[in-house]
């Protein structure tokens, strides 16, 4: 698949979803970028902001198998990965795959599960496989994607557990949905009246094989040496910024580059420009840094700190 075909496919996907998800064009674009970059997404916001609906809509149009897992405090790791069950007929243990064996997983309210269960996702998200009973099962193939879309409520809500840092680092981006504007909210109501039913379903636009080809098209996007240095400079600065206790990892650099390449593809270019990097740095780095106590008490958010860091790093524009 060439870039032009990938851009056309992305446009038709976004156009279809925008018919139902009103006023969230930026969020939809960010989700599309993460899907193209083959990275997991963490939605963080209050309930009722269409986090689940966005995930389900993308799974529908991409023609992917979709599983929704509601995370609760009593959820066990085996509930996610599956387990081996003894079959009396064959007199042997048989593997019963868990809900992780789908193309797109919606881990709803992931921070309501205990850290032990959350950690069960680590191998799946990082290595695209699960190991059960000494056997390893692949979650991804050339024709099968594997993506985790997790949603979480902000930590100040009761009954939630903070995600382990190692798991947070495996998410390509943290996306905040935010409340719609008044006019957009009015449009949502109008749409609901016109639809005449509570639920809606989106048509399939592409196959998952095509989707995998779109992801492969991202690999042909070139990144110049100046931009590699720019990415490294940004990530490196997060490790030395006075407001930050723990900076971003090299995985952060890789993910920032992946997102920048996906953005270039979505823009119809086969090369990354500095704007791709700067525009998406906050999206992919903000959840990877841990602020120091002073900044935390002062009420600064990770996004604000990343934005501040971006004003300290020289962009490759001048000589």
């Amino acid at each position: 698949m060439n870039i032009q075909e990938a851009v056309e496919a992305c446009d038709s996907i976004l156009t279809e979803i925008k018919k139902f998800i009103i006023g969230k064009d930026d969020v939809l674009k960010h989700v599309m970028l993460c899907l193209l970059a083959d990275g997991h997404i963490l939605f963080e916001d209050y309930p009722g902001l269409a986090k689940t609906m966005i995930s389900r809509s993308f799974a529908s149009v991409l023609g992917c198998d979709f599983n929704r897992i509601q995370f609760t405090p009593d959820l066990l790791p085996a509930d996610l990965t599956g387990s081996e069950i003894y079959n009396q007929k064959s007199n042997d243990f048989e593997f019963k795959p868990g809900p992780l064996f789908a193309d797109i997983i919606l881990a709803d309210e992931i921070n309501r599960a205990t850290p032990k269960t959350q950690s069960a996702l680590l191998e799946a998200m990082g290595e695209y496989q699960v190991s059960i009973g000494g056997k390893t099962y692949e979650l991804i193939s050339t024709e099968k994607p594997f993506l985790v879309i997790a949603t979480q409520n902000p930590l100040e809500l009761e009954g939630t557990f903070a995600l382990p840092e190692a798991q947070v680092d495996r998410f390509l981006a943290k996306v905040r949905v935010g409340y719609p504007s008044k006019s957009d909210e009015a449009k949502i109501l109008t749409n609901r009246i016109n639809r005449k039913q509570k639920l809606f379903s989106l048509p399939q636009i592409i196959t998952k094989k095509t989707f995998r080809e779109m992801q492969k098209a991202v690999e042909i996007i070139s990144v110049s040496d100046e931009l590699k240095d720019y990415i490294v400079d940004i990530v490196n600065y997060t490790r030395h910024a006075p407001q930050v206790r723990v900076g971003a990892s090299p995985r952060g650099s890789l993910d920032l580059m992946s997102l920048a390449r996906a953005n270039a593809l979505l823009d119809g270019r086969d090369y990354v420009i500095p704007q791709d990097v700067k525009e998406l740095a906050s999206l992919t780095l903000s959840h990877r840094i841990i602020l120091d106590v002073g900044s935390y008490i002062a009420g600064a958010s990770s996004e604000e700190i990343i934005t501040r860091i971006l004003t300290k790093v020289k962009a490759p524009r001048k000589e």
Partner: protein, 294 residues
């Protein structure tokens, strides 16, 4: 009102002011050389301001030549280096012509040839007569103006300037000749300029640098952290130039600098055209604005 006029006086203008001050200093040295030997040389004794004119006219001609020779707007380091070498050549030639052994504070080069009285042989019957006959009259005259910055360190600085400037000029000329030969080759073949041809890429990138430098001088945000796209937006918001022209130039720059594409000769020509157009237009707008303010 004043700040508006001073703000654009940043880099290039400050360098120009330093350049003029330095010209003045060299002019002083030349004058000292000439006046110090005036009484001794029959040519210099002629009451005609030939050498003064020479010292003034040459730097002026050089400046004019630089302005015309280099593509406007020129990068300041090129004329500066050419100018430095030229000025130093003037000093050397003038020193040679006047046979002066110039040292700071000594405006009478005759001093260097005074006879040490202890070396006079005792056989001379009347040493006073010898001294009065052999020692030339000291011509004591004040310098036209004296700049305290001129110390002995200057001599070393000048030697360094000569060396550095010569290297820069030779390298620039060599690159120019290579670029011209490659351009002519590509024009003959009617093909795209390959990526390996650094000249095409550098031309576009250089055009963008010149244009953005100029726009920064006109008031655009010169922060280092701005990406080309952000800078383009800033220029657009401030309405410093035609939005489409600078957008096009930014796109060409992005492609030349960050892509692996082959750059066509048309793109290079387009970048040059856009750069000159933007600079001319924005200069014209700024001039009109200042006139309106007055």
């Amino acid at each position: 009102m004043i700040s508006k006029r001073i703000n654009p006086l940043k880099r290039k203008e400050i360098i120009l002011i330093v350049f003029l001050l330095f010209s003045l200093a060299i002019f002083q040295i030349t004058m000292e050389l000439i006046h110090g030997r005036r009484q001794e040389s029959p040519i210099l004794r002629v009451n005609f301001p030939f050498f003064e004119l020479f010292a003034i006219a040459i730097p002026l001609f050089l400046l004019i030549w630089i302005l015309f020779k280099l593509e406007f707007p020129f990068r300041i380091f090129k004329p500066l280096s050419i100018w430095a070498v030229s000025m130093l050549l003037i000093i050397v030639v003038t020193s040679f012509l006047t046979n002066a052994n110039y040292s700071p504070g000594n405006f009478n080069p005759g001093n260097t040839t005074t006879i040490d009285t202890t070396m006079i042989p005792q056989t001379l019957t009347n040493p006073e007569t010898v001294l009065t006959e052999s020692i030339p009259e000291h011509i004591v005259r004040d310098p036209l103006f004296n700049l305290p910055v001129l110390q002995d360190v200057r001599n070393l600085l000048l030697v360094f300037l000569i060396l550095i400037s010569t290297i820069i000029i030779i390298r620039t000329e060599r690159r120019k000749s290579i670029k011209q030969s490659k351009e002519s080759e590509s024009a003959e073949n009617g093909q795209k300029i390959p990526k390996e041809f650094e000249g095409g890429l550098k031309n576009i990138i250089e055009c963008y640098y010149q244009t953005s430098d100029h726009l920064e001088g006109q008031g655009a945000d010169d922060s280092d952290h701005l990406t080309p796209k952000e800078f383009q937006n800033d220029v657009s918001i401030r309405q410093l130039t035609s939005e489409n022209d600078f957008n096009d130039l930014t796109s060409l720059f992005n492609e030349a600098k960050f892509s692996e594409h082959d750059i066509s000769a048309d793109s290079v020509q387009r970048a040059k055209f856009l750069s000159q157009k933007i600079i001319f237009q924005s200069s014209h707008t700024e001039f009109e604005r200042m006139e309106e303010e007055e």
